[in-house]
Symmetry: C2
Subunit: 213 residues, 2 copies
Amino acid sequence: MGDNPTTAGVRPAASFRRGNGRLDRPAYDLDAVLDVAVALFNERGYEATSISALAERLGTSKSALYYHVSGKEELLARALDRALDRLESVLEQATDAGGTAADRLAFVLRGAVGVLVDELPSVTLLLRVRGNTDIERTALRRRHDIDRAVTALVEAAQAEGSLRADLDPGTTSRLLFGMINSIVEWYRPGGPLDARALADATVSVALDGLRSR
Amino acid sequence: MGDNPTTAGVRPAASFRRGNGRLDRPAYDLDAVLDVAVALFNERGYEATSISALAERLGTSKSALYYHVSGKEELLARALDRALDRLESVLEQATDAGGTAADRLAFVLRGAVGVLVDELPSVTLLLRVRGNTDIERTALRRRHDIDRAVTALVEAAQAEGSLRADLDPGTTSRLLFGMINSIVEWYRPGGPLDARALADATVSVALDGLRSR
DNA sequence: GTCTATATACCGATAGAC
DNA sequence: GTCTATCGGTATATAGAC
């Protein structure tokens, strides 16, 4: 890339002036920085990723980065928000759509796989958070609220008679989401399996199991 | 604990003299050190856990620890070996037991859940390894070999006709082990669910699915 | 907005006294 | 075997020149 080496990495993005004359976002591309940061966090681990390493991969300097970002934690918080916002939106859509509990549960499962594929890096990061800082604990609380909503959906589907009632709803939803979440460990977009086929396979295994009949 | 504070943490264990007069293991309790180390690695992350923090929790000093252990990586390697040895042993037992592929697969699933419950800390650590050092890459290679063996078992069970043949064996075994491995994220021994009930629920969901029939 | 230089702290690991 | 002291390195983050 023949750009000025001092600006090759953190490159300005399209930005738009609002009515008050202020930019509605910074003139450089925060999203691009975030993408690289999240990729690096997932490769080496959040704690093990240094700001220097991030700056290097961005083609900038540490100080230039600090001018735009308050620190490593801001990047983490923004990435976790991105993943959680999308997952929460799936739950809202399922509620709005109505239908039987089984319908809504299937919608949530498919939607979760979709978000996971769509936002693979930030969801991967989210699933690796352990709760060692306030930011991580806040994210874990939001995850937990999502889990509780899914468990309630499983209970409702059992009460309807559309799901087996011999399994504990909490255990069931944990196993279910364990299976779905594990997709981040191996799925790579652009491979032989597209997002729809992946969602089909996942929901089919979850509902019908592996045994031939 | 009224012991001498300088030895309160790294306490001697029973040790036995062999024929050649040498101790068959160090006089202090390496296993106890390892347990604390693995617990800390799982809490804070391996990279984020300092030797100082480990020494502090053990009630020893950094230097005393270094006298017994070559470094952080030795602790990691030993913990990963512990988990992998147990998992590989399940595969061997399944092969030795014989029977149909479906029988052997069910044996492996149950066995994996058992190892996971038995060795929860070291398996948890194993599942979080990303391959950033030689030790981690070696562990990942052993994990991969296990995955390939399970995939082969799924294929054999499909050929037998006991498992659905409309799913890709690789995808199937990944989803299967994703579900099983996710157990480390929430299962705590001593809770309402014992190991047998957990294995029953897991294998039942995997084979029969959630739909009521 | 980006630069060089630096402050301050902690890291893993070791030396040498006891 | 454990101690204190310290090495060299790296971390996050900032100051001040340009």
